[in-house]
């Protein structure tokens, strides 16, 4: 009984195993990136970037049809262009990063939609928007695993300056010139993970896989190292739980959204019960200490 529910689907079906590997790869690299986005108060950046990527992927689709390389390259190009432009404007002018990013992703989105409609073909963007986690072929799995590997290695290499840039950017500037490079590499990682994510979960849901586990983890620990591990764990747990629930519910519950809903449940649970500023702790205060 329990076996049928929790293990059976993965033992039996190849597509379930692929889905599990795919979301695990996404969680392992996406969630830590989400943690840094959250800590730098850039939680909405992922969302904006997802919009910026969309036209590029759509253009790739227009040019080469439903081809993984074309859509990936298109998405990456659009994402990098917007990230670079926004970052450059934020560093060189009075506009802050959020304002310049908003400006450029809107331009990118409008441009993309315009080009698509000029071509006069009504392409089906549903796949790009919502993905299909139950139809991951070898090519997509390799892309997901590759992106996860590159992301984790890059994060490990950039860890110190990245943390420093978050805590005390002025200090980093005074001891090293790496701030700009670190920031741009980090934005590149965001784009890379979103592009990888849209093949499995779709652009919009890929953002959920980044931000929800990170926000949930913040309610449990005030230590950056544990935060990163916990977020990745939450991400994988929601991937697994979402797949199990979606399979048990038959065809009525699509897998992608149920993964994000599972992450949402973890987030809401953490919000309620979390040991670091969770609501229950606030509403049921314990006696204060002597000193």
């Amino acid at each position: 009984m329990l076996y049928d529910l929790f293990i059976g689907p993965f033992a039996e079906f190849d597509f379930m195993r692929r889905a599990l590997v795919g979301v695990a790869a996404l969680a392992v690299s996406g969630a830590p990136i989400g943690v840094f986005l959250m800590l730098r108060r850039m939680s909405l950046t992922g969302d904006a970037m997802a919009h910026a990527i969309l036209p590029g992927a759509a253009l790739g689709y227009l040019v080469a049809g439903f081809s993984l390389p074309a859509m990936t390259i298109g998405g990456l190009a659009a994402g990098f262009a917007v990230a670079l432009a926004a970052g450059a404007v934020a560093r060189a002018t009075v506009l802050k990063e959020d304002a310049s990013l908003a400006a450029f992703y809107l331009i990118s989105l409008a441009l993309g939609v315009t080009i698509v409609s000029l071509r006069g073909s009504a392409i089906d963007l549903l796949h790009v928007l919502f993905g299909n986690v139950l139809a991951l072929d070898d090519q997509v799995l390799l892309l997901l695993a590759g992106v996860a590997t590159v992301s984790l290695l890059t994060l490990a290499a950039l860890y110190r300056p990245l943390v420093l840039e978050c805590v005390d950017p002025g200090f980093l500037r005074s001891v090293s010139r790496s701030g700009g490079i670190v920031h741009l590499s980090f934005l590149a990682l965001v784009v890379l993970n979103l592009v990888a994510g849209f093949h499995a979960l779709g652009t919009l849901l890929a953002v959920g896989m980044m931000m929800l586990p990170a926000a949930a983890a913040r309610f449990w620990t005030a230590d950056i190292t544990r935060l990163l591990l916990l977020a990745a764990g939450f991400g994988m747990a929601s991937g697994y739980a979402g797949l199990v629930v979606s399979y048990a519910a038959g065809s009525s519950l699509p897998a992608g959204p149920s993964i994000i809903l599972a992450a949402g449940v973890i987030y809401l649970g953490s919000l309620l019960l979390g040991s670091q500023g969770g609501l229950a702790r606030r509403l049921l205060p314990r006696a204060h200490l002597q000193r």
Binding site: D168, G170, F171, D223
Partner: protein, 244 residues
């Protein structure tokens, strides 16, 4: 030998000078206070020396091969970031450890030593968000200790800090001076300056006086500095002194 040489330096914002045609030297190993009214350009001058602000004209020459450390007035430090006091202090080792360098047993000992020197022993595992203003400043001084810099720039290090913490941190400044490091500090408390700082620059956009503290901090000079006109004139004509 000079650690910092300013030649006809003008620093400012949007073409308006905050520091105007300032020339002079800060000797290596000296302990200098920069005093002056609000808006006199004290912080701007430190920013310029630290390389965080490009001069509008003139130049800043820094001694070659010296390590500089700069503690800004209100560090743009994110105190909600989940990191411990220990890790914040450890950042001071950046020059030696860099991106990949291992923090070994010797370095760990240094970090503990620095934390003890500022009286924060026992606070190592505390998240920085739980520190008081004074404790935070102690932690930042511990980080400065680890930076092991030859020239140390402090911008209002004792503002909003109680007397005991000020005394403790001032002791560190004296120690740095004893180790022949160059220390430049922006200060507001004239008494502290008289007691602890041999050299003073009295700044009011231009140098009112610069030299031995006793000769600089006269009633006459202080009055002169106070008379400085603070507001920028948005219709001011371009300064002609550059052309001369």
């Amino acid at each position: 030998m000079s650690a910092i040489r300013l030649t006809d330096l003008t620093l400012g914002y949007d073409r308006h000078p905050a520091v105007h045609h300032l020339s002079g030297e800060i000797e290596a190993g000296s302990l200098t206070a920069i005093v002056g009214p609000n808006g006199a350009g004290k912080s701007t001058l430190l920013k310029g020396i630290a390389g965080a602000l490009a001069p509008l004209s003139g130049g800043i020459a820094l001694a070659k091969g010296k390590r500089f450390a700069y503690l800004p007035q209100s560090a743009d430090l994110d105190r909600s970031f989940p990191i411990h006091v220990y890790d914040l202090v450890a950042m001071g080792l950046w020059n030696r450890a860099g991106i990949f360098g291992r923090i070994g047993a010797k370095a760990a000992h240094k970090i503990e030593h620095a934390i003890a020197a500022v009286g924060l022993t026992g606070f190592e595992r505390r998240p920085i968000g739980t520190l008081s203003g004074g404790q935070m400043q102690r932690a930042l001084f511990a980080r400065l200790l680890l930076q092991d810099a030859d020239v140390i720039l402090l911008d209002e290090p004792f503002t909003a800090i109680d007397a005991r913490t000020t005394a403790d941190l001032l002791e560190l400044v004296r120690r740095w001076h004893g180790e022949s490091r160059t220390v430049v500090a922006v200060l507001h408390d004239i008494e502290t300056v008289r007691q602890a700082f041999p050299q003073t620059l009295l700044l009011a956009r231009e140098a009112v006086a610069w030299g031995q503290t006793a000769t600089v901090l006269t009633a006459e000079n202080l009055l002169k500095a106070r008379r400085m006109v603070e507001a920028f004139d948005s219709h001011a004509a371009p300064c002609q002194r550059d052309a001369a």
